[in-house]
């Protein structure tokens, strides 16, 4: 059984107090409690502070390009669907640069577990607005304040009938850990947007700001009702819901592809002999 020590990776290069530490801790604990070994899953990440994540725990890692996390994860999952595939991205990474991929990954409903470290700011490039920055927020690059509307990833996901839609908060450890477990266990695509204070560049959305506003979604709430979920997803401001906003039973993409039902692509053996025999047969179609 894996222990927390098995998940000890490289020394993080995050700022002291960064919300990423709390997410990392919850993640490691969730994985240890679920009995998942480091070699049993792959993390695909992009570029940004969040995307350094896989280096700081131990796992198979494809740390790719900014915004391109989900396509790499999709190719990986389609080739080896027995592997747990986790995608880690930031708000700029996933909702900005990679927005198109998010839409289509949700449509496919491929079993990728996406965790977005949403600090509502660009950290790595030092403090520009992100798609989830609130309207009016002044930055060095937005001297007149953010003029565009704030992207609502939860509403977007519900609108697309995303299979699992949840919001967590880096400042609520136990709750986040539970959400991570539920996202991993869900069949199909999971999106967990994690509110994560950036202690260096975001002076608006601080620990205090979030802590004042977040509340656990009531236990009476039915996350399978899409219309109510949409309403819940729209809540933002003085009260911000955290927990599972929506989930459904859509069949995962990988279960619909006939050629991988017997075994994953990566386990299908290939030999020169069988290849030649098949090609010989196929070439007959050309005569």
């Amino acid at each position: 059984m894996a222990t927390l020590d098995d998940y000890k990776g490289q020394m993080p290069a995050w700022c002291p107090g960064c919300g990423n530490y709390a997410i990392q801790k919850a993640f490691k604990e969730a994985f240890v409690e679920m009995g998942i070994e480091p070699y049993q899953f792959t993390i695909v990440s992009g570029i940004g502070q969040a995307s350094k994540f896989p280096h700081y725990i131990r796992c198979h890692t494809f740390n790719g390009l900014h915004g391109r996390t989900l396509p790499v994860a999709t190719g990986l999952k389609l080739s080896n669907h027995e592997m747990l595939v986790v995608a880690i991205a930031g708000d700029g990474d996933c909702y900005g640069e990679g927005g198109n991929h998010l839409i289509h990954a949700i449509r496919r409903n491929i079993s990728i577990k996406l965790f977005v470290h949403d600090n509502q700011i660009y950290g790595l490039t030092k403090g520009q607005a992100s798609p989830t920055s609130m309207e009016g927020m002044v930055t060095k690059n937005q001297p007149f304040g953010v003029l565009s509307g704030q992207l609502n990833p939860m509403a977007l996901a519900v609108a697309l009938d995303c299979s699992f839609v949840a919001r967590g908060y880096a400042g609520d450890h136990e709750h986040l850990k539970t959400l991570i477990k539920e996202a991993i266990e869900h069949k199909g695509f999971s999106l967990v947007d994690i509110l994560q204070p950036c202690v260096t560049f975001n002076t608006v959305n601080t620990y205090a700001w979030y802590s004042e506003r977040v509340y656990h979604i009531e236990s009476s709430y039915d996350p399978t009702n899409r219309v109510e979920a949409f309403q819940k997803a729209l809540e933002w401001g003085m009260r911000i819901p955290i927990g599972i906003i929506y989930k459904n039973n859509r069949t995962p993409f990988e279960e619909k592809i006939p050629v991988i039902q017997a075994k994953p692509l990566v386990k299908q053996t290939i030999t020169m002999e069988t290849l030649k025999k098949s090609i010989e047969q196929t070439l007959k179609e050309y005569y």
């Binding site: 198979h60 396509p71 080896n80 050629v259 290939i270 030649k276």
Partner: protein, 579 residues
Amino acid sequence: MSFQEVSLDYSIRVGGEAGQGIQTIGDTLSKVFSRTGYYVFTHQDYMSRVRGGHNFYQIRFADKPISASRESIDILVALDKESVRLYEKFMSPSGVVIYDRSLLKEEFNNPRFLHIPFIDIALQSGGNKIMANVVATGAVLGMLGISIQIFLDIVKDTLKKKGENILNANIKAALSGRDYAATHCLQCAFILSSPDKPKMLMGVNEAIGLGALASGCKFYAAYPMTPSTGIMLYIASKAQEYGIVVEQAEDEIAAINMALGASFAGVRSMTGTSGGGFALMVEGLSLAAMTETPVVIALAQRPGPATGLPTRTEQGELLFALHAGHGEFPRVMFAPGNPEQAFFLTNKAFHLSQKYQIPAIIFTDQYLADSQWTFNEFDLNRLVYKDYRIHTEELESYSVYKRHAFTESGVSPFAIPGESSHLVVTDSDEHDEEGHIIEDGATRIKMVDKRLLKKLPRIAEEMAPPVLYGATEPDIIIVGWGSTYGPMKEAVDTIAPKQSIAMMHFSELYPFPPVHNGQYHTILKKARLTLCVENNAGRQFARLLKAETGYECTGYINRYDGRPFTVESLVEEINGYTG
């Protein structure tokens, strides 16, 4: 059918609007000829629209191998007026135009024009207007005096699921078309020689697809873009049989990144696109290089910049692909000149990309994508398949596994994630041997040496020299790459009786075949006239040749009107140089 032992070489052009069934007539006739045992070359020319406009399909068949179209037409099937207006001037002295006056709304009082009531015959056969295609196909066979049996077999194969009434109507239409032409075409004087054994008829997109199947490709992701789409369609049609996942990605950026994810996971993967899509893939190409993840990319060129001429042809992406991607890294590039080369070079692209963990690019273009060739067979013993990934037993023998370990060859052991407890880690950032992010200069130098400087000379030694066709010590050499192979070869055949001429065709472009590999450099230097033939304006290959070998061609023949070289136009341009 009476055979005489004379050289046979006829060209048929089917012209009309998109949606009139030109493709069906052309495909069927080509199949009949190749199955009968003739050598066939076909090419198509169409506008970027689904209906209307004007398109043609040209089929040349002969009793010896052929590799290009000729301008002269022996039978023109004119389904619209435009066909007559545009192509009458290309008719050979014994050529015949067939048409239906009810379609063209015009009657031609010329002995070389034969009215055949395609539509009336179709209706009388118990069918509908669409069956005019079947009548026309039957008519062409009747004019040529070629047995209709193979055509009837094709009709039966295609329509067996449509019910007996439809099938019988089609057979009747085919026979009536043949009989009408045979009886009415008094001016038909086509002489057939004995056919050889049946041949394979194949296009380049299918050949690339087949090459991928033969190389163990398990994953193909792409976004549709002319003229590369045919590759995806072909592989999708074989997905079930060969166990391949084909995913239509949301864009080309996703396509290449998916292919990289699949490759990292442990399967051979591929993508395909045209210039505009490749432009979007460029960052992913660089990612493949940095993470040392193999991927094969088919780059089907068409004229740019931007959307350019979407259904026309050009060889405009050579230097773009050579330099594509930020940063310095190796790649291999192939440019097949026909389907057979495409099949084996796709196999080589997979092999080298796996062996050296690099991206491999296969060039085609619209001209190649829209032409078909015949071959007696492919020698499958030339195929290479070697699994370069490190598997469980070998992997478990490592006490420490490092994905990007420094080695003598620059190639690191590449494990399959999940096959053992060793972790496979890679990064688009510069990284250490384990795959973790670094910034120190010393590691950086070692990584660049490993990825680029150690691998590149080793890959170069794997590249084959150009093919020399024609005179062995030529006075004149036409130099080219990729799709100009066919027209160049036939231009050499045409000029050879009068001049000492050869073609030097490069299909393995980068790393450039070293000058010590074969005699090509010496042969070039000895020639009096060396003409670099390219379907572009920028003399891109001539520049690559000069940069890599120091050799500068003495003259250039460039075509950039979006059309392929024809043998006739090429011969004329060569003659312009030789006087």
